[in-house]
Amino acid sequence: MVLLDHIASGLIFSSIIVLGSIGLSLVYSIADFANFAHGDTMTVGAYSAFVAFGFVGGLGGAVLGLPFGFFAALLVGIVAAAVVAVVTEKVVYEGLDVDSIGMLITSIGIAFVYRALVQMYFGADPVRYDIQALRPIEWLLPYEIRVTQHDVAIVVSAAVLVTGLHVLLQYSDLGRKMRAMADNPDLARVSGIRTDRIKLWTWIIGAGLAGAGGVFLGLYNLLNPRMGFDLLLLIFAAVILGGIGSVYGAMLGGFLIGMIHELVPLFTQLGTVLPLVPDSFAIPISNQYASAVAFVIMVVVLLLRPRGIAGEAV
């Protein structure tokens, strides 16, 4: 059924957006500004993995159509994105004595710097990981689901990372401190939490997840210097839809936005998908307006719940 295929691609696209939006929301909740360099942090992760894959690509066997080397490269991408974000925090953001609008504008500048550096080394033309491209999984084809093993790998890896974050936040000492600090930084500080250190960890986790999202985005599509920035607007939509500052809201928002984005093609063939309505029934909105539809739904949700889905009530 064609519906299943769209849900499958929605799931894949959501996984990438979720990875991006968690970091954005985390940094917002603790560093207290909207980080526009977040999309380009994804790009940094993707290209770092690209370089690393050049060295370790042939490593070992393969799982889900991906050589073990790819997962090593994924780790490199995560670490590189985290390191770049921490260095930026130390060198730029930490020393800045401006309000959150000033920080926001600064982060746009940082985004341009990241992208320019990537472009200087790798050029503006797209590149891709040197991995054998796959055909769709055969036994799913009769159900009209067209996904490759790589797509499955993306979804599974994202699920593992998100679960890991959940465990970290709920059951570890660090997680408790992060949550305390997100709730009330001053109170957290007077109760003896070293907020500077927590802030640094937040950057590492947020940027690391973004790096992973970038690597998967590169696997899903191609790598180009604008890849992260082009996705950033959708990630913002996801974060705001979920309730900015809330990690679980970001997960939910990312899932919804990615899903809606990939389900828009169904609008023109609704009749064949829905029961009870005639086959000719359709909403005449074509796929090129997918982002617009995602944003309209975001606005509608915000009208009903001004703080987002998971945000506290006003």
Binding site: F13, A34, L141, N287
Partner: protein, 443 residues
């Protein structure tokens, strides 16, 4: 207090995000594939009209056609070329073509006289082009004007200087679709529209009844897709635009697939097309692929899996590289300039030769007389000749303009009623993940 801050922040965030995106998106919209000459000249056409009008009054356009009346000196025509500015790369290639053409023409001579071309610089801008044309038409009094490179520049010159006179204007490099609306403005380079028509022919010839079309959401994509739809006589199962720089086109491709068309046509850019081919491959779609020339390139080959595009057909505007006259032109060009000619040089070469032939065929050296002959010397009625020398012989033996059908080094020319030449295109087929020329098509 905290409340207000957050709301303001959200509002600003959204606004800045949009501004940021808008600012960046515009930086990538340049190369229209083959239509490089269209890129930069759109801006300043409107304001130029008044200059042309007022200068016409105090100039003395017809009294001093220098050189023309001096019975022995060379015929003097004008050319507006982009010698500086953003299109100067085209201008340089044009000048090489012009140089070779002048050599060719002056070896033989036009009824015992030579040909001389005064070249003025347009600075690649409409304003500069109009001033240059005014100088050539109103002061030098040339009856034949070759110019210009950019489509916007050519149109500005036509509208403010040439339109209400007898002067013949022949653009060497403009490919914009808009020029077709001005039958008085001739051009040597075919419009992008010829690609669409050729694609419609090829797809029908290959036996496909239904086609799904997707085009990049801008003027280039839209106009080519529109021209295709106009020319296509079969079933149009799908016809939608897509935006540039999207991270996923899987929705679009799944729609194309469910349209059940057997031919898929792409009018888009290389990066977008690479993404699409990867998704087509990983989704296992089976449509027969076709594309405009802007989807072909080494980048596409290196960023898509082996075998993912095999059998795809692309049309690319091309000089008739297998014809003898082009080969002769190319070898002379290589001797003189140490590199292979581009089609832009070939167009400029043909402009000069066509001008020379129309002068020889005309009774007198005036714009009105040249208007009569310039279209005739390349049209199919006469005897096909592929060099200036041969054409000139026919005219010297008493042949009229319609006894000659000059076949240019850039193609058969054959101006139609809109002043556009016949498009000469190469069909390339992807075989073993390489582009292989598999034939030529005129449209």
């Amino acid at each position: 207090m905290d409340n207000i801050d957050r709301r303001t922040l959200l509002r600003l965030t959204g606004g800045l995000g949009l501004a940021g995106l808008a600012g960046c998106v515009s930086t990538t919209d340049e190369g229209d594939g083959g239509d490089g000459s269209d890129g930069t000249d759109s801006g300043s056409d409107g304001g130029d009209g008044s200059d042309g009008g007022s200068d016409g009054d105090d100039g003395t356009p017809t009294e001093t056609p220098s050189g023309g009346d001096g019975e022995s000196g060379p015929y003097e025509i004008g050319m507006v070329d982009a010698r500086t500015g953003s299109l100067s790369a085209f201008g340089q290639r044009n000048q090489r073509g012009v140089e070779l053409a002048l050599e060719t023409v002056n070896e033989v001579g036009i009824g015992g006289r030579g040909l001389d071309i005064t070249v003025e610089d347009s600075e690649s801008e409409s304003q500069g082009g109009v001033s240059a044309a005014q100088k050539l038409v109103n002061q030098d009094g040339v009856p034949f004007l070759i110019g210009a490179v950019g489509s916007g520049v050519s149109l500005a010159i036509y509208e403010s200087v040439v339109q209400d006179t007898d002067v013949v204007q022949l653009s060497q490099n403009s490919t914009g679709l808009g020029l077709t609306e001005f039958p008085g403005l001739l051009r040597m380079s075919p419009t992008g529209r010829t690609q669409s028509v050729a694609l419609a022919d090829i797809i029908a010839e290959d036996g496909h009844d239904t086609v799904a079309v997707t085009y990049v959401n801008n003027n280039y994509g839209q106009s080519l897709a529109d021209a295709f739809v106009e020319a296509w006589e079969g079933d149009l199962a799908y016809n939608q635009a897509h935006d540039q720089d999207q991270q996923s086109y899987s929705g679009l491709l799944s729609e194309m697939n469910s349209s059940a068309a057997d031919a898929w046509l792409f009018v888009t850019y290389q990066a977008e097309f690479s993404t699409m081919v990867n998704e087509i491959y990983s989704s296992g779609y089976e449509g027969q692929l076709y594309g405009a020339d802007s989807v072909s390139g080494d980048d596409v080959l290196s960023n898509t899996p082996e075998g993912s595009m095999d059998g795809m057909k692309i049309v690319v505007p091309s000089a008739p590289v297998e014809e003898d006259n082009f080969r002769a032109f190319a070898s002379r060009f290589e001797d003189s300039f140490d590199e292979s000619p581009t089609s832009w040089s070939a167009y400029a070469y043909d402009c000069v030769v066509t001008a020379a032939l129309s002068i020889q065929a005309a009774d007198e050296f005036t714009g009105a007389a040249l208007q009569e002959t310039v279209r005739e010397v390349t049209r199919p009625e006469g005897e096909q000749v592929d060099s200036f020398e041969a054409a000139s012989e026919i005219l010297a033996d008493g042949g009229g303009p319609s006894d000659v059908d000059y076949q240019g080094v850039s193609g058969p020319i054959d101006f139609d009623e809109n002043g556009d030449p016949v498009g000469f295109l190469q069909i390339q087929t992807v075989q073993d993940h390489e582009y292989v020329g598999t034939g030529f098509i005129e449209s």
